[in-house]
Each structure stands twice: as C-alpha cells, then as structure tokens.
C-alpha cells in the first residue's frame, strides 16, 4: 500500500504485477472480493488499484464529493505516473467514474473496459434503470447482485472489526457520491460520443442491479464498443467469474493490438 499525494488528496493505492499499465476502478461494494480477479490481471499487467477517497480507510478532503472529482483525480494520477496507453477497467460505480474520465480525456487511455457499469440514465422519469439497493430488502439486493449469493457474499458477522468498518465506509461513500441523482449523472449521456477509445462492455447475464439490456444500450452509445455477456454471474462478474472476465479483457486487448 502506498499513498500518493495529488492536490489535497492523499490517495491510497496498491500496485500489483508487471507489464503495461492497467488501472482498475472499484465499485461501491464488495471491494475486497476483487482480489482473485486482480491477481489474475497482475500476471499480464502492472495493475494500479487505487481506493477511492472516502472509501475504506482512505481520506476524503472536504468538498471532494462528486464523481467528477474522482474523474479528474484519476486523470491527474495517470499524468503524475506518466502512464500511457492505459487499459482502464471500471466495475459498477467504478465504471461510471471511468466514463466520466473518458469524456474528459482519452489522451492517455488505450482501451476502456466497462463491467456492469452505472452512471448513465436511459429510461424515462418513471423508470428505474438502476435498482434502488437502499430501498430493497437486503435478501433481494443479494439475489439481484450475485448469481450465487451464498457463494459470493461475505458473512459480515464473522469478519473482523476493521473489515466491517471498512465496508461501512464504502457504503457511506457510495451514498455520498451517488445518492441523488441516483447512481447516474444526468449530463453524461450527452457526451458519451467523446469516449473515442476502443471499449469492451462486459455484463453479468444475471445482473439484477443494472440489466444486460442497459449494458447493450450503453454499448451502442459508444462509437467503438463490443459487448460480452458472462454466464453465471450477476452485477460483479469479475468476482463470480474472474477467469472468464480476465480472459475477455485479454482477448479484447490482443485483438485491438492485432487490428
């Protein structure tokens, strides 16, 4: 774990593996459960794994409160580390941040991978594009989140105090950034044409938080994107099917290189 000072943000970041750079932006929940997936990616890439400010034990400066702040922060990080041709991978909430980053600048981004991403509003005012995880019963949220909740979801009652506190912080920070408008930026859809970088949109076939239909619509909104459905996975396919998702990313990047 290292801390990188970017403006008034002391960014918490881990780095794993060697190779070309891959920046992974985590979702709002189940952050620790990404480990297997990230280990797998680290066989091929140098994986940069920041913890968003306000999440876990990472500090959030006063006034740092929007997804736009996160997008600029990671653009600064990429500049600061002098990264180029970055593979940018965002899952769920992290995918939203990745999109906000790309509509601002793709100068140092080589490929974009979006996994069950939030952040864009497609439906009408009475349609809920993104399930309200704060209003649904806990059991239903779990059923919608995972293909196999019993296998994938952690048991909070047996985690140690620090880990549960970290999860509580993740929940609070996700709410801070995404409560209203709920998990999207009303202006983002207008600027998706600016994502001028090859993109892969990966979706869990059983995602009950944001449906595969939403994913396909997001894919069609990007000018150079392909869609890949992951079987036996919900909202976090990289947690439930880490091999399949990592394989898909590798194929995508290789194909782009060969193209």
């Amino acid at each position: 774990m290292e801390r990188i000072q970017i403006g008034d943000v002391s960014l918490e970041m881990r780095t794993a593996g060697e190779g070309p750079p891959l920046l992974f932006l985590h979702g709002g929940d189940y952050v620790a459960q990404n480990q297997g997936f990230l280990d797998r990616l680290a066989r091929r890439w140098q994986v940069l794994i920041p913890r968003h400010p306000g999440f876990g034990r990472s500090a959030r400066p006063d006034g740092f409160r929007s997804v736009h702040d996160l997008a600029y922060l990671y653009l600064d990080l990429i500049d600061r580390q002098r990264l180029g041709d970055v593979v940018l991978v965002g899952a769920s909430f992290g995918g939203w941040v990745a999109l906000e980053l790309c509509v601002r600048s793709v100068e140092r981004i080589g490929r974009l991978v979006l996994i069950d991403t939030l952040g864009v509003k497609f439906g009408g005012r009475e349609e809920q594009d993104i399930a309200d995880i704060y209003a649904l019963p806990t059991e239903e949220v779990l059923r919608r989140t995972f293909f196999n909740p019993a296998h994938a979801a952690p048991d909070y009652s047996i985690l140690d105090d620090d880990d549960v506190a970290s999860i509580a912080s993740d929940r609070a920070a996700t709410a801070l950034f995404g409560w209203r408008p709920y998990m999207h930026d009303p202006g983002l859809r207008r600027w998706l044409h600016r994502v001028r970088v090859p993109a892969l949109v990966i979706w869990g076939q059983s995602d009950g938080i944001v449906s595969p239909d939403y994913g396909e619509r997001l894919c069609r909104s990007l000018h150079d994107a392909r869609f890949e459905l992951i079987r036996e996975a919900g909202h976090y396919p990289q947690i439930e099917q880490p091999e399949a998702v990592a394989d898909a990313i590798e194929r995508f990047v290789r194909a782009e290189v060969e193209r």
């Binding site: 704060y134 019963p137 806990t138 549960v164 506190a165 509580a168 709410a175 801070l176």
Partner: protein, 390 residues
Amino acid sequence: MKVWHFSEMAYHPAWPEVKDSYRVVIPNRLYDPKIGADLYHRYLDEWALCDELGINIMTNEHHATATCADSVCTIPMAILARETKKVRLLALGMPIGNRNDPIRVAEEYSMLDVISRGRIEMGFVKGVPFEISPANTNPADLTERFWEAHDLILKAMTTHDGPFNWEGTHFHYRSVNVWPRPWQEPHPPVWMPVGSPGSATEAAERGMTIGVLNTGWVRTPPIFEAYRKRAAEAGRLMTPQRLAYMALIGVGNTREEGRRRADQILDYSRTSGIVAPQFMNPPGYASVAQSAQALRTSGAGFRAGRIQSRDGCAIDPRKMTVDDAIDAGLSFAGTPDDVFDQLRAFYDHVGGFGHLLMMGQGGLLSHEETVANLTLFSKVVLPRLEELGV
C-alpha cells in the same frame, strides 16, 4: 416547569393492515380521508383545549407513515396560532436537513410567530433514519446540511436590512430577504431533539433547548450532563429551561384508569419503530462504528437496544408493558400522586429539567379519554410541579 402536550396524530385505523413496516413502504390506500379528517379535527380539538388547561402545545412531523399523520408540523401550528390565545406552540420539529428550501422554513416560522403574537418555539430536527427515503436526501452529508440550513434560517430571521447573499455547500440564494420578520427578538427560541451526548454538546454550544425523547432512566443522565458541561465550557447561560424530557403520561382517578390510558398511549412505542429493516441504517447516516455494528446484526439497525430498563437490559418496544415503561422512565402513569412521584424520582435522577413534553395522547386513546387525561393532569398534577422548584 412548562408542560407541553404532544400527539403524533396517528392514523391508527390502518394499523391492523400493517404487515412488517408502519413506515416508508406502507401504501396510502390504507388511508381513508374521511376518517382522517375526523381524526385531524379531534387531535386539533385536544390541542385547542390545552389553551384553557394551561398546557403548552407541541407538534412534530413524520413522512409516509400511519404512526404519525402530521406530515407538515407547521400546518397544525398555523391552525392553532389563531385558535389559541395563551399557550406557547412548539414544533419539534422541522427536518431542515431533509427540506430543500430553508428560506421557506424561515418564512413559515416567522409568519407563525407573527400570527401567534410571539408564541412560537421552533424546533430543528435531523430526523430519524427512515425519514431519508421519503425525502430522498443524501444520508451521508445530512449533518452538514442540517447545520448549514440552521445557520441560514437564523441569519434570514435576524437580518432586517435587506437582502443578503448565501452561496454555501448545499444552499444557494443570492437575495435572502424574509418577510415577515419574526415577532420575537432576535428570533423564536430554538429547540433540537437529541438522542446522544454528542448531539447534546452541539446544541449546548449554540444555546439551543434540547428535547430528549425515549431515552429513559439509563440514557438521559449522560445526555443532560454532556449538555451542562459543554454549556458551562462555552460560557452559555445554563438553566433547567434548556432541557426538556418527553414522557408518555396516563393519569386517572384510580391507578387502574391512569395505567389503562398509559397502556393505550404506549401503542405509539409499540408501533413507531416497526420499519422495514433496509430503511433503518441508511449509508452514512450513523457513524462508521454504529453502521458496522448494524451490518453485523443485519436487520436490527443501529437503533436496536435503545429502549432499556432501569438496570440496563434491552426492552423490545413492541412488547413493552406499562410496568416496563414506568421502570424505564419512559412513562409516568397511575393516580395523580403516582404520576407526580414517578416524575419527581426521574427529575431527581437526571438532575432536573425545565420542560415536560407530555405525550398525553397516543395510539387508540379516544378523544374522551384524552380530554379526561389532559384535564385531570392540568387540575391536579400541574399545580404541584412548582414543588420541583423550576
């Protein structure tokens, strides 16, 4: 000591239909406006009676619930501002972190203060966790929003020389200029409900009166003590009038009658906490430690265990008996002597307070019973409160 009569204006006819949540997700097809109108009028009649009895009036508000049909606390206040002539009117209160327009709050309170000729006391509340969903306000910065709204409202009510600018974190106005200005100078007294020593400290720094609800024998003393300590440190005038305690009060000509009334009022405690668990711990509403604890005990919420017996054991509010409630210091019930003795014991235990928030109506307690309860209290218990010396 000042006494205030409080009722949540419950819409109890829906209660038999409730399955697992009295709040948030309970559909309003369970509300019949014709029955609701009768209930509103009877609750207002009971408050109006208080003007004759010398008992002050307290309203509150909750949203999307059958336990409290008072969804706008200033509406009954507006009716009573004209209908009453003598007693003071307290709204405890306005959820200013959940309302989008603090200037509108300043206008409502100022107008009420003028119509009532200076009888308004204005409460600002952070709101219980299950108020977040009906308002769709961000729970993670509720406290910050609450204090910004508080500062803006007070500035708006005390600025008399034209518009001022406010471009804060949460609220933006370039021309704040509230008409009318309030009757009372510099503004009506400010109250805040408090449930922890930490919140008491924040109120003490600002000289607010705290209303302490449902904290009982065990949790009240540290809250009052934290207030007194911080007020002294901050150089604030400390009087018992800064402290208020709410109790469910059933008084009767016989012990049985008083306890029967308390038992009916206790349906407030038995119902009001029954909420679908996902609304009990909104992310960021409670501290990280409280929220973590709630995650471990999924469904219970961080509010579990708040109702405690005198010896510190958790009481399930859904099954609380009159004996439990008296033991816990939540209810004073029985004959006028019983009520006074229980009140005095509690008063001494917590080191004194200047306001008794009397829940004199709750649950299914009928109009006739409520009138009898309030009348007997005013005639026999109220005159004796001078013995407490405040």
